[in-house]
Point group: D3
Chain length 338, copies 6
């Protein structure tokens, strides 16, 4: 009933200070394993698909723990290689009110994934086995070897008739100074290969270097996205606009450009428990909607509902059933379910 879906990307260990203490106050971490690919695969697994991660982790107890953790999230580990010695890690200190959450990366450049030789992967075989492959801009920022693996994989996937998904996900800290210029050509290559793209007006303006006379972000979006869709032959472009309020709540409005027309969700506001990974819940909602033939409004409403709920679940990986997301689409806040 579900589809076969793979995601290509790094598995990172998240080390989270429990509660609201600072790293310099606490003495323990909760750990879990995440990454854009992990999050998308976990979300789609909970929506009923068979999901696979295409990645590389070390052959040591940390790699074992990562594998167990992915299994727990419902992801099949068949295409995860064991190679190298390290896993990328990041520290997370939860913010409170006026004090923002803080992410500190440990060394990911020397990780098993980022040092893995290309011949570890059999992209052709994987492409023949799945319907959809998901890529993201964070992986694209790593190094030349990874970039080449990623484009290679995307090309092979396209040739084999897979749906190619690309989440632009530009992270300034990974590309450094003059990063937009450095990234541009790589992004363009990926856009040429992609069927579904997640991006917003900033990606168009900064990463692609486009221009607009509009100032309002929504108008910029409606001005720029059609050009991109047509130029790169992209079937679906989608994303969200987020607003952060002063009372620990956020608002999200989803948008979708498909068949030459825009669809927007209503703006949803909600209390935030764990913000990380909510973007991946949105993409998963769109992918799922497309695979199940939802019409555009349903697709964008479903995806925003998934993203909103993802803020209420601890951990980067959204663990939501289709049913729970539909319920949350229609209703107000409910009393205890019993």
């Amino acid at each position: 009933m579900g589809n076969q879906i793979a995601a290509f990307g790094e598995i990172m260990m998240r080390l989270q200070v429990p509660g609201y203490e600072l790293l310099s106050q606490a003495s323990s971490f909760n750990y879990s394993f995440s990454g854009t690919g992990v999050n998308v695969a976990a979300a789609l697994s909970h929506l009923g698909h068979d999901t696979y991660l295409v990645s590389t982790i070390p052959d040591n107890p940390v790699g074992d723990a990562a594998t167990s953790s992915l299994h727990k999230l419902g992801i099949t580990s068949t295409w995860i290689n064991r190679y190298g010695a390290y896993i990328g890690m990041y520290f997370l200190e939860n913010g409170f009110g006026a004090r923002a959450s803080r992410v500190t990366y440990s060394n990911r450049l020397e990780s098993s994934f980022n040092k893995a030789p290309t011949d570890l992967y059999d992209f052709n075989r994987i492409s023949k086995a799945v319907d959809v492959i998901h890529f993201c801009g964070i992986t694209l920022a790593m190094n030349d070897s990874i970039r080449s693996q990623m484009k290679n994989f995307a090309k092979t996937a396209k040739e084999n008739g897979c749906l190619v998904v690309f989440d632009c996900n530009y992270r300034p800290s990974l590309w450094g100074e003059s990063g937009y210029e450095a990234a541009r050509a790589h992004y363009k290559e990926m856009l040429h290969l992609a069927d579904i793209v997640f991006m917003n007006e900033k990606d168009a303006l900064l990463t692609l270097g486009m221009e607009t006379e509009e100032i309002d972000r929504e108008k910029q979006l409606t001005d720029l996205l059609p050009t991109i869709a047509s130029h790169f032959q992209i079937a679906i472009i989608a994303g969200t606009h987020r607003t952060i309020h002063t009372d620990q709540t956020h608002s999200l409005r989803g948008y979708l450009y498909k068949n030459n027309s825009f669809t927007f969700s209503k703006e949803r506001s909600f209390s935030v428990l764990d913000r990380i990974g909510s973007g991946d819940a949105y993409s998963s909602g769109i992918i799922h909607g497309e695979l199940h033939g939802y019409h555009s409004q349903q697709m964008v409403d479903f995806a925003v509902s998934a993203a909103a709920l993802a803020h209420t679940i601890i951990g980067d990986s959204p663990l939501l059933s289709e049913n729970a997301i539909f319920q949350a689409m229609g209703e107000g806040i409910r009393d205890v379910e019993r």
Copy 2:
């Protein structure tokens, strides 16, 4: 100075996932023991009364833990039988914002309480020893044997001059399809025996099958309750109307029908930490007020204040002194008490 008060009902083990994780994410539970009877007896014990539970638990380490826990709540265990092998249990996952709290019951139908033979209990002796006995609609939903024990006990209590309290507490999931019809006769029997009843307009409409032309819930209430009070000869009928807001706060308005007239509290709004058991705090407040001769307005204000505070205390059982409830009646939010 306090009264002798007994409650008849099942003791359940609550298995609560700590924090905001899902059952499928976490690996530990906090456990406690609760039930409507437990909650009411615990609350009245903290208000200065001598309280007893009339119940049955297994003679094993789980039964020992339940006993210790009730003792800690200030409840005397003299009339708790040890029989059978199981205790009813339920799992609680805390909701957050748009994600509602979820209760999953384990098998309570085979519990010691629900399988206990009637001759375990000496209702006559208990009725002679106490002033008040509390019953509730959850117990009434269990099985024929329990229903018969309950009515028996209520009759004996009435004959011995006890104040009989009955909380309608209709739970659709326990009565199943066509539940209202199935429940009706049993509820009517209990209402005939009761002096103080907790119910709302839905109990009147659905369980008792009454009719009204009013649409607003408050108007339905004022239309229906006087008929019930007069028909069943009930001295006091009380309850609350709850409104759930989108920002993790609730509002409660208490009402009381006594001596042919209605009294309402102001509507109170408050942040919610643990919603379960707050209804039992309200009933306890009314019972305490009646025993201490509060006038109607004081009684309903006191009970709503107790219910509001109960939302700020973890666990099903409200642990509030009379003093703390009075303080909360008068004031706004206060700074640290030191």
Copy 3:
């Protein structure tokens, strides 16, 4: 490279009081999911096989958690049905020194597994898909419907050429008074179907009602097992003899009867952290050894080494690689590995 192995049996939730507190002292549990089938499948998954559980769990958050947990243990959940409302549970209080560990069962008789109708399972299809199927005497003790499912499954498996494994695992508390007589016929049926059997001299004497003039348990064993193997046409009979010492250490000696001859391991002594599930580690070691063509001495040494190590790992399910078990076979205690 590994085999396809299924196990048939109930998934139970283990609620363990952390540390050494009593249930009546503590206020939290660690929970996990286990059962003989779970333990064997988890162990064999860590030894490189593809493992499946054939079972039934409720379609609610507890069932979701069980599924996640099995995935984490490396078990595929394809053949786990969702039906009914309850999961079997047991409470575990850790003993210390002179105070023994205590297991208290909650109601498992009404569990999803024990109430599941036979037509939920497609034993034929499963038997065609796997090489080995594992059954155990605990399942056999449940009720007539389960017994019939189990024998049915074993017959179908045999017909399809699967290796049938049966662990006698007689639990007196499950069969009640005159239990040995009640169980005898059922055990005999299973022994007729089985290729590999785990049993000891007590199973022969009590469950099968055999007689011997020997007094020493090892002599009883060598007297009785050959008769059983020959009568029921069993290829391998294996088991362990355990000795419990006063200083929190145990000793185990493994035995194996195959091709008309006995093989014994040396007696191994070791400190005990978590005793539950160590028998399942032993069976897994024998099954793995048989599938990989180990010679008899290697097989029994490997299995005892696996069982010994399983006592040093928390949880019922042994999580040991083949490599770790081989290491532990040869060496004394080692210093920190770094």
Copy 4:
């Protein structure tokens, strides 16, 4: 079936560093409430008696917590006064192997109990209501007012026909330099009033200032105790000899002098989890045995078994049923109970 038993003494808060960290390493405490009187009352409550503490605690949240905690231990709080502002506290760091456990007292001299005016207590009424009253040497060390209350209470108890129990329990750190001389007269007064006394040869030599030519502790005991029993007219004198081994185990041998003859238990050895409170388990065993008419050998074996088991339970207060103690008297170490 049980007796009415009261204990007079201070309730202290125990602040225990979890695990094996030092106070300067950790950041949390587990807290509980204890004291010789608490421990004895809790133990006897679990042996089926109705037990009361006669004490004073502050009327604040700490006093509330102490009351809840005593209730949980099965102790009735009717005769516990609320007065003053402080509770005595002590810090406990668990030792490991060569590193001994460390107790650090906070200020107990200004505690509610130690500052309570005598007229808070109605010793006469309590003495009329109970069968047995327990006193201890720690209370005797506090201050003149407490000493006078204690002797007063003991006299009243004696006059009312209560069994008076006195545990010598001399703590050098509480009496300071020349403490034995300072304590002597007070101890003698208590011995004159007591029916059951717990003491050893050191109490005789140092506190009472007696002399003996024997060197071995057991011979000193048999030389000195008969003189004391006869001089002070004491029905029963009992105690234990402890030996501490290098492998985290202790040995205990119990003794009892009654009707002019000595009875000794076998020496029992056991692993130690929590040593504090084990002496109180011994006294409780003797008191229980005397009340139930055990013969001398049974009494001392039961008491030593209770003391041994108390070392395997966390917390100062032993929580053992009569049944569990009898089981532990007869058997070796057992496998999991299930």
Copy 5:
């Protein structure tokens, strides 16, 4: 680059119930060490100064833990004496919504600090070594000996050219009935010695016994403070006005009187995680601003920003870098920092 700053005051142990449980529900505390002096020294250490505490703690494991804790906060312990046996302690139960946080003090009057003889301290040597010394009204409330030490130290500090800081910090519970009268002369002496004073209109009206015809608290402030500054020759008087809202947020407005003119910050509103110690964050901000030559508006904005952020950090001691405080001055709520 930083200054040498000392604070004189007691080090207390804070025993905080984790989460939102009551002391009578929970079984563990988180502990830390605090006090006005500790908080101010910790805050200024994180702002780049070398800070010292002048205090006395016991020479036992609790004193060791206090020392380690102060070191962790960045405070040098050179001038902390080891004397006496006790440390002051307080219990903290976190409030939630309508239920206020509750502080219960244990006995601090007999603490090492409050019983320390004057000759333990070499105030002259300390005064020569530092630039600033901080005192507070809580210390002034302790006893005559401490008051005399404090005034002595302040005089010596003044003579040695130190900047003398005095935080009025009047705590009614410490001075008892007629406390304002009792405190007045002592406060006046300290005001005569101080260069920087933290106080509000209530200190003027109640402690100093001044009068005003104004009713609004801000107008009272502007009416009374200039008189005080001129009478006592105080260079800077500063403080905050706090408003507590019903939704777990507070507002603060800072004020500063310097060079005959008032400066006010904007009123800032923020969610509150841990309110205790936020006043000390404000004082630290003012002291730091004065030492670094901030102009008045910058100083009061910086201090209010520090106080606002301190509400978002667990523990009494604010741990904020200058940079973090400046960031929080300018901006709205931000997304995750990564």
Copy 6:
């Protein structure tokens, strides 16, 4: 009264799985900061010396936490640079009985310390300020730049009259294949500069490539060490011989070669709670003994006592007072200290 002592080396973050779970079972770590230099400096700080670490950590929240942690251990951070982005990390899974503890390193080669440019350090200034500088073989294994810094620092220290301490501490995994040959020249350079050296017979045979005809490790030691001491002009060579038993206990025997003669401690046996860092406790004991003029027997007994106690304390860094170590030298196991 104490000395000024510096240690040069990396600060690592230790991520320890709590209890006895595997990394793949657990979901949290306890973290702390350690390293040979940290451990030695912490131990000597608790023995009354002023200690400094000479190291480099990142200028981010992880670096802040490391600094707080070192402060808590009593180490002054004046000479710790902030540079680079990463800290070395290692994972620790506690072994139990037959299952050995497991250390898994994360990437330390790119750490701030290992990438720090030499000009960050002012070795000359540090050498003038301290009496003793400690180096170790782990640092020597890092890379050429670090090796050059280390030799440089040791030379400068020697020229400034500091006592140079060198702990050979050869870790095969850090030097790789043919590691002994690669390491030899570097070790020889350090030995020429050192006054106190920690090494054993394996260092002599393998790292220095010496030969002996003896087989027993103690005889090898007495054969080889005098030659080394004389060749490299080393005042003191010391170390321990460890034996690991099967019951979670170890034995240690210390040795010391000084003034042409050997001194041995008795062999001490003890239960092991945390083995890591015990070697650093031994070195700290020798250094402290030498600085305080202990005679040889006292020095080696003190050091072995410190090492034995260090096995009973959680964390890598031994936190023992001189007094506690002396107590442990003389006595057997003691009862609770109270």
